[in-house]
Symmetry: C2
Subunit: 306 residues, 2 copies
């Protein structure tokens, strides 16, 4: 029975590319391991898989009785629903430490860097395993995505060096140009239903007993949302009610202007005032310089709930 | 303000030596870091510190407002009481993943090996920092202690290789002989009050909402306990009542016979029957081949509570 590598629900490029990269490493080390996914892929991730010639990992929601590696999170709310009936062999992640626990010793590589794939590169180096060209390309794109082409405050020198090394292996001359191409794919929202956009990169967090959902759409120009913002606002209100959530936030991130408009529905009228020192007006607030959910949005919010 | 490195409550040699080794590494890397301890040291640990010329780390119970690295565990019950008011910068550990969480990204080096110091050696290698002779000696002793001189089922080839490398650095010809000397110090129980013995290496676990305390005394010959076993049994019964614990178990481990007599007080009369397939008779049960609390005692018990 093979082991699995699986990222978070509503998989992003880092979750998928790190599952592919880690399963190749583990299999090479003699442990048959396959990548899996907990949901449908975004246009950006499909672009990466297509570019480097990968199939979509197997869609697999249930892991009872299986052994798996968890990548790109360590949170129950983002993990398979039956993870308590599975054996977690390891966690590779770059977020805050979540509430997953195990009953046996395991392998955790968690680092405060911009992307899980930067850590997986360290694992390849540690085990002295050569990274295949196409895997290097996919890993590189995941890092460019997570670090918003190095603009995000989560980006570290380790991420930048890692992209340089992976570009060399993959034979890519201009990594940043490929990053822009990728973000153009990501910016295409036309014709996509509001719910699909809201859930494209959406994570639930347990904040002191309150369920808070935070979505993010990163685009090259916020004007793209002019015609559909009302639909998005209506949809996050629905999503809040459907999931009994305390709040749903949707970040519309302009990667060129380097800031985010946050759409807010919440049981606390002063949620953003308390967390970010800026009041929500008419269900919206502009957060200048905010690009990173994990570094700039989640910690102050978590703090405001404690 | 320096950062701290602290192990678990009722510190053992691994918690203390890894705090010393990690704080030297971090300080060398430019981050002023000092080792600390959450309690009194055992004769074995004092022997190691004396042998390699270290002072006892600072006794420090409160960490509110401080930043710290947690070593040798990831459990709330074993951490400083006010850890929620501190910033956890990282966790270096070789046990199951516990219930500590953070609100910001961190550094976790967790591996299924025999000792935290084996992982810290990997960190020195990763950062290409030379280990001072005396720190290498202390790290080596911690590994010999945690792996019961390589006899424990938790011992991996990584631990054995690490001891070889550290012995070379420390200039120690016969690591195993030093290990036996250390276990002789550990075996000296005469004249020590029962409570001190019970708490010498004692850990509380939250098992599905039940508080379970598990102590362990590793000796060269169980006959050493003949005269004091009744006192130990009376004391763990007291300890159970004082702490509102569901169970208290005390492992009397014979490292030469390679097995443990478990003294049991529990709200479940069939606790050991359910967890280990062997009934407790007159408050005791012999578990052949059982040397490791973390690998052989905790997981089946945790399972039996779920």
């Amino acid at each position: 029975m093979p082991h699995y590598v699986v990222g978070h629900k509503i998989p992003d490029s880092d979750s998928i590319c790190s599952a592919i990269a880690l399963s190749y490493l583990k299999t090479t080390l003699g442990e048959e391991t396959v990548p899996a996914r907990l949901g449908e892929l975004s246009p950006e991730t499909l672009f990466i898989l297509d570019k480097f010639g990968f199939e979509q990992p197997e869609l697999k929601m249930s892991y009872a009785g299986e052994s798996l590696y968890v990548v790109d999170h360590s949170e129950r709310t983002q993990a398979p629903d039956d993870i308590d009936e599975a054996t977690i062999l390891g966690i590779i992640d770059h977020h805050k430490l979540g509430d997953l626990t195990t009953s046996t010793p395991l392998e955790c590589w968690i680092r405060p860097v911009g992307c899980t794939n930067t850590i997986i590169k360290m694992m390849y180096d540690f085990h002295n395993v050569e990274i295949p060209k196409n895997i290097a390309g996919a890993m590189m794109c995941a890092i460019l995505s997570d670090t918003v082409i190095f603009k995000s405050p989560t980006c570290t020198t380790a991420d930048i060096k890692c992209v340089e090394a992976l570009a060399e292996i993959a034979g890519i001359d201009d990594a940043e140009a490929l990053g822009m191409e990728m973000f153009k794919v990501k910016s295409a929202v036309e014709g996509t239903p509001a719910r699909d956009l809201v859930l494209r990169d959406f994570k639930d967090f347990d904040m002191n007993g309150n369920l808070v959902g935070i979505g993010q759409l990163e685009v090259i120009d916020l004007a793209i949302f002019d015609d559909i913002k009302a639909d998005l606002e209506a949809d996050i209100a629905k999503l809040k009610a459907e999931g009994n959530r305390h709040s749903v936030l949707l970040l519309l991130t302009d990667i060129m202007k380097e800031g985010s408009e946050m759409l807010v529905v919440s049981d606390n009228a002063d949620l953003t005032e308390k967390a970010y020192g800026k009041a929500t007006v008419d269900g919206k607030v502009w957060l200048d310089g905010v690009l990173s959910r994990k570094k700039q949005v989640v910690p102050p919010l978590q703090e405001s709930f404690s």
